[in-house]
């Protein structure tokens, strides 16, 4: 297995003439939490379906848990889909029993805080508890690799922290985790991020690797509404933060020209970019290419 749980070597998948995934290479090692980020249509789902063997590769190769991504290797991974994959009209215990039996595993013991919910129908439980149950189900057969699709969507910060306690606990025990997310807070929980755009990996590394020393411009002016309108009309990637304005991917000179043309006096200052702003810039670049 050489210390890699899942590996893609220059994999490509086309739908007709559309290249959904274009020569992507990536891997997840034991104990590692890897975040997969990107716009809708960037190729995240297609990549994951290839990693799972649910979609054939048109070029390149996938290795899952030391072999081809077939049923035999798939049974050694745990998966929490976005819609949780639980039967809503069964109880928590019934779900866990059914799923454990599918894998030939023992029915997992519920942690004390979940015990009061064991005989409740899944559909009657708060979303945070449903998500906990889905995690317990996915972990019941002691998988070596965990695949999570938007694992904390819709839950509050405390429930999200508790789910990440579970995820991190698993990775401490040596499980590899691949997680897709739209939450920047969640991206910050990962050891390593893969940023996809238009079927390609456009950036890779920790959050600080990806953002690096890139900057955005902060515009401060009394006439924020007018400045926002002018920059927006000029199609600059502008974000309003309270009453301040941030602009990604624009030269200071260009910004000054737009504001001057609108008769606005403003103080322009470079500030460290956020990961979202970096994503926006990378997405624009890959679209232009």
């Amino acid at each position: 297995m050489t210390g890699v749980l899942v590996r893609a070597d220059a994999v490509t998948h086309r739908f007709g003439r559309f290249v959904a995934v274009d020569r992507v290479s990536m891997q997840v090692r034991p104990g590692e939490v890897v975040g997969l980020l990107g716009a809708n249509g960037a190729g995240k789902t297609t990549l994951i379906r290839m990693l799972l063997g649910l979609l054939a590769t048109d070029a390149g190769r996938v290795e899952l848990l030391g072999g081809p991504p077939d049923l035999e290797h798939r049974r050694r991974l745990g998966y929490v889909p976005q819609n949780l994959g639980l039967y809503r009209d069964l109880t928590v215990l019934e779900n866990l029993t059914f799923i454990a039996r599918c894998y030939g595993a023992d029915v997992p013991r519920l942690p004390a805080e979940m015990e009061p919910y064991s005989r409740a129908l899944v559909q009657d439980l708060p979303l945070g508890i449903q998500r906990q149950a889905a995690f317990i189900a996915a972990l019941s057969h002691s998988p070596e690799l965990l695949l999570l699709d938007e694992p904390t969507s819709g839950v509050d910060a405390l429930a999200r922290a508790s789910l990440w306690d579970t995820i991190r606990g698993e990775s401490d025990r040596g499980i590899g985790v691949l997680v897709t997310t739209h939450y920047m807070q969640e991206a910050q929980q990962c050891d390593r991020l893969l940023l996809m755009s238009n079927g390609r990996v456009v950036a890779e590394g920790s959050e600080s690797d990806i953002v690096g020393s890139t900057t955005a411009l902060a515009v401060r002016t009394d006439d924020w509404a007018k400045a926002f309108a002018a920059l927006n009309a000029a199609d600059a990637p502008v974000v309003l933060v309270g009453r301040a304005i941030r602009v990604a991917d624009t030269e200071p000179a260009e910004l000054r020209r737009i504001l001057a043309a609108a008769g606005i006096e403003a103080n322009i200052e470079p500030v460290p970019a956020t990961i979202e702003e970096r994503m926006l810039v990378l997405a624009r670049e890959s679209e232009a290419a």
Partner: protein, 274 residues
């Protein structure tokens, strides 16, 4: 003009969905309401639109024809084209002929949907569909705009585009209140409201919320009191609400995520869950 709710309480049977909530939504401002499933976000918004009657408290909102609402579900009709969706809603507000055509063209251009005008709503990406719903909610230039999770499930790049549209509405004087599960959006809003179990956990601008936070948050790999700690990446955070952290502990500048978790822990410690 300031809209909002004052001392609002709403019950559904035995469930208190809103518990003495006061929120102001002034013109030209984006107010973001955050919280998890069941926190009371939708109830607060639907109290403003008049869909949920309050048990006690008062609502200050414009009449229906001056209020725009994007529901959490979809906000557009899947079987209609982008143009038909806008024209239908525009027609309800009495827009027709040249005025409707001008308004439609303007909305589509702003939302970058001009190229998709003839596509069915069902054929749009998630982000495009939410932008269509947004455009429909503002077709009649309402003075209060109520958006229920406009960005949930929308990817980060499209979300910035959506935020641009929301900002634009505020910049032209509209009062905007939106619910969101993304804390980065709450940080960007002029005013943020954190709901937890129907009550306001904290509200203010992000700077005010940070300044008003009391106690210390430390970082370590071995927390002293597990019940006051949570995971952030490879380390754990620990909250010291009333006592000083032990000497030598690494104190961190909390972000909104840390602050909300810490305040939620404090609330739960103060009144244990039954």
């Amino acid at each position: 003009m300031t809209f909002g709710v004052r001392s609002a309480t709403a019950r559904f049977g035995d469930t208190v969905a809103l518990d003495n909530v006061t929120v102001d939504v002034p013109s030209g401002m984006v107010v973001a309401v955050v919280g998890g499933d069941g926190a009371g976000k939708s109830t607060l918004l639907r109290a403003l639109t008049g869909e949920v009657p309050l048990d006690t408290g008062a609502v200050q909102a414009p009449p229906k024809q001056d209020l725009g609402y994007l529901p959490a579900s979809s906000g557009s009709w899947a079987a209609l084209s982008v143009t038909q969706n806008i024209d239908f809603v525009g027609g309800i507000y009495g827009l027709k002929g040249e005025a409707l055509a001008v308004r439609r063209a303007e909305l589509l251009e702003r939302a970058k949907l001009t190229g998709a005008a003839d596509r069915l709503a069902s054929q749009l990406s998630g982000g495009m569909r939410r932008k269509l719903g947004f455009s429909m909610a503002i077709v009649h230039e309402p003075s209060l705009l109520v958006l229920d999770e406009p960005s949930t499930g929308v990817d980060p790049v499209s979300r910035i585009d959506l935020w641009r549209l929301v900002s634009e509405a505020a910049a032209t004087g509209t009062a905007v209140i939106m619910s969101t599960t993304y804390l980065d959006e709450a940080e960007r809003a002029a005013h943020l409201v954190v709901l937890d179990g129907g009550r306001v956990l904290v509200q203010g601008s992000y700077d005010e919320v940070r300044a008003g936070f009391t106690g210390a948050i430390t970082r370590s790999d071995q927390p002293v009191r597990a019940e006051w700690s949570w995971r952030r990446g490879r380390d754990r955070r620990e909250y010291w609400p009333d006592t000083d952290p032990p000497p030598g502990a690494t104190i961190v500048q909390p972000d909104l995520e840390d602050i909300i978790i810490a305040l939620s822990l404090r609330r739960r410690a103060a009144r244990p869950l039954s």
